[in-house]
Subunit: 282 residues, 4 copies
């Protein structure tokens, strides 16, 4: 490596070294229909924060799949700030996600909290690395030795360079299927849970060839902001969205305030479809 | 006042006490055509950061007016962090703005730095209060006793409540023509000059009836981000945009990196027009 | 000016151009005893947030003067986020401050909110520029044409360079008696009102020859943190402290949570005196 | 659990449920002399950022032990933002740390990056959880099942509540030997690497019974600020300090700018000893 490379060391993630957009293919096996993201392919990942029960995940997954979501999201093991709050259904949650995948034929994304869960996640189609683990290098290296796509959420105060260097840990181990996700940064402003940094979308797309999606649900923490921020993210050029949907948000076991209802999601998915042709692209 | 009112004291700015959108009419006299902003009326304010010369302001103003800008912007007295950098043309700048107003028939917005300039600004159609003066209460009170519209930019670390309370200082003195402007907040992230907080748009429009516009030029400080962030701001529901345009950005006496060229502005104005029907609204 | 000077343009504030510490002399006329600050001279400025009544200010001023405060603080015109909260006693407050000055023979510091008050402040010994007005250049220039010392509080999100450039506005007009004050910056952390940035003390003292003091009361907003943060500020090398004291904090008309009682101040002043010989100095 | 407990759920860390200070004993076996931290016991942890060679670690460890450090620090596996920078000597580094421990008879602290290293760390006396792993719950739970002390560094944007909840993950698994470390938070201000939040010291000591130390080296990232910030941390009531020392800072393989030399450390250790009797305590 030359000195210049050391100074800007996300060699594999750098668009300068890989000008064309990376297109990540998601979903293999279990009878699901693979989908593409990046390079003009746009996907919505939708579903509940946590898998809570068979009825809950089945109902929501069917509804979002029907409304246009290409990928189903759902948490099985949940990273929770407190050790005393609901930690997810675990193994049972993973089984329910597999069931839903067979039912809807849509690939599944679920957050992975550490090394020890990798084998258990064999039917999950995208390993989601949460904001808290963005710099858990032991986990990133291990996922770099897997073949399935890895979605990395921006850490709560990560710079874009740090996010790309975390992606580089995965890429350097051989896994080229990395997706980046802007999900809000921590600022002094507490009207929203975090401050959605939409300028990250065009900047990242200039810095890297990897797909960039936006999570307006975690970024804002408020259901009524999911629609305007989803439309804004699309307008700014995002390759996809991750949206929390719950049939009964008030009763959700986690993140109750930010989930939208299936019927709201259906309306929003149509608005997203309508605005997409007018989105920014270079 | 009751205790409840003391706790949420932006009484006049509060949408709860004034459910319908305020529509501000801009431009009277000097032969200009008045324009409206708010309540479904969308305006682009465009022009150079600073008025630099007769040729410069005339050329840019004519170009942006032709491309669809409803209001011309230009700085005469400039707030500069250092006392040793270009402080604006002052009185001469104001005269050039009046000339341009007569030529284009478009109203003029220009930043006012203090009490002592109010009389001098008699031909300026919107008093712009900059981010540094958002809590200059002496100035806000004085502008509250004027009749012309006042545009208040969000302070570099102001909460939305603080912004509304600054608006309240103007409203409480009798001037009801207040426009709010999101222009980025200061965060740890230094890829952009500031972090554009677009969720402020739907939140402010829920909190208040006043028009809310976005300034992507100062927010990002980078010309290549002006287009994606303008489209995103429109998608999020903004009532207008303030965009810096310069015929020769490299030679601009201030803010050279963030100005776009007249031909780029013309292209962007058309994209804005195209995306507007798909923007978020409640 | 050379290019190098333009890049680091706080020429008059820069320690490189003025290696020895500036010593500011405070207090002339009205029978008060002048005090020095900077260059090894340490001063505590103490008193209530706002002057509320003759009894209140007289009692507190006498107590803090007896306990070791060299300068009395008290607000006459108060910058308040809301136009509907107590705005200070105004002219009557200034008269009470003059009375107290004659009584205690201690100089007075009081915040000035704008141009229009300069004449009224003829008996105030230090013009305090609040955090909200740190970049009110019209005010800074006007105070630069005065002879009395100017204390500039760091803006809520100001960098140290911006603080020095605000000082430069005063110095460039001819007034060399500038004191800087660290009073906390706005961060995501809301346990304290602001985050006291004590590393600003040794950094500023390296960058500039001007005296640097610390205001732990406004920085933390919590009375129980005033003592530990005062001792820490002294240990870090501060030239002085500004501390809010109130005989009956619960009943204070502003900033009730952060004021300490006169007896707590007396105990703290003794602890400050004891720790001073062990403070950092280069 | 009652609702009240759920709202403030760091039950085991909470001082309300455990009023007396926790005293953590560090160092067992390998012939080292155990030391105590907390409850009036003050310790300095000092040494290089990374173990680089036998000579390097032996020289520095002997020097800091002689000057008063109670615990030796040194990194074997290093968390690095980039996958291409020096990642530590690994196993060899751990062997050198054991050698140094036998030589100086001082306990050792070293950062642990993940589950897979726990067994390898059998001779390390304190498991250090770095800022990037503060919310790596898989790691925290595993360390909670160990007996040796765990030092948790505050995440780069963690609130104090989040820090205590991470401690709670360890405590809830049965390990009561937790030490907290303030090491600076990420703010807009880039003069220092991070902003040292010293008010965290008295606040944490009010919230919890666990020992609280300060790392001025990582907080500021600048060697010349280590002395003033160490003295300030002691004045604010810290139970200890973690200080980076290197015999030849310019040649250090990591964090070259923030290490002080052994002779500077010796001088600082004496100043710390001198100021301690005047530090804040409740």
């Amino acid at each position: 490596m030359t000195t210049a490379q050391v100074k800007k060391p996300y060699l594999l993630a750098d668009r300068k070294n890989h000008p064309e957009d990376t297109v990540v293919t998601v979903g293999t096996g279990d009878g699901c229909e693979p989908v593409k993201i990046g390079g003009g392919n746009f996907q919505i990942m939708a579903g509940p924060c946590s898998v809570e029960s068979d009825e809950q995940i089945t109902e929501i997954a069917a509804a979002v799949a029907a409304a246009g979501a290409g990928i189903i999201r759902g948490g099985a093991y949940k990273p929770r700030t407190s050790p005393y709050t609901f930690q997810g259904l675990g193994e049972e949650g993973l089984e329910l996600l597999l069931k839903v995948k067979k039912l809807t034929k849509k690939p599944i994304i679920s957050e992975i909290m550490g090394l020890s869960h990798i084998e258990e996640y064999s039917h999950v189609d995208i390993f989601q690395v949460g904001a808290r683990n963005m710099q858990n290098y032991e986990l990133l290296k291990a996922l770099g030795r897997q073949e399935k796509p890895v979605l990395i959420k921006r850490g709560i105060s990560a710079t874009l360079r740090e996010l790309l260097l975390s992606a580089e840990y995965v890429l350097a181990e051989g896994n080229k299927n990395v997706i980046l996700c802007e999900r809000g940064i921590r600022t002094y402003d507490h009207y929203t849970r975090n401050t959605l940094d939409l300028s990250a979308v065009p900047i990242l797309k200039e810095m890297t060839h990897l797909p960039v999606i936006v999570d307006p649900s975690h970024a804002t923490g408020r259901a009524e902001l999911v629609a305007p921020m989803s439309l804004a993210a699309v307008a700014a050029g995002a390759d996809g969205l991750m949206i929390e949907v719950h049939s009964n948000p008030e009763a959700a076991l986690s993140d109750a305030l930010q989930a939208i209802k299936p019927e709201e999601f259906a309306k929003l998915a149509a608005q997203i479809e309508a605005i997409r042709p007018f989105a920014y692209h270079k």
